[in-house]
Symmetry: C2
Subunit: 63 residues, 2 copies
Amino acid sequence: MCEANAYLERDGKEELILESVDIIEPEDGKVFIRNIFGEQKVLNGRIKKISLIDHKILLEEIG
Amino acid sequence: MCEANAYLERDGKEELILESVDIIEPEDGKVFIRNIFGEQKVLNGRIKKISLIDHKILLEEIG
């Protein structure tokens, strides 16, 4: 499967916030993510880096 | 393989701009993308939506 795990970078650490993410939609300082199980989250932040080969979505808080 | 194809939405159409993308990094109104072959592009724009299940990265121009 080709989903990726989403991590939030905070205080220099990477915290896993959602596994098996399918959909990523950044909008107005927020990022909406939804996984293959229908779980979804909205984070205040931005996408820092995505590596599909590593199955990794790295988000960071703004400000 | 779990890469995705990157499309740029322009004038209501989706134009394929890079296949087999691995890395996506948005920064300051630009989006850097690199594929598994080492090809890379920098677009003036933003990520509109990514669906990993569909292997699709949709970018849009800003403004």
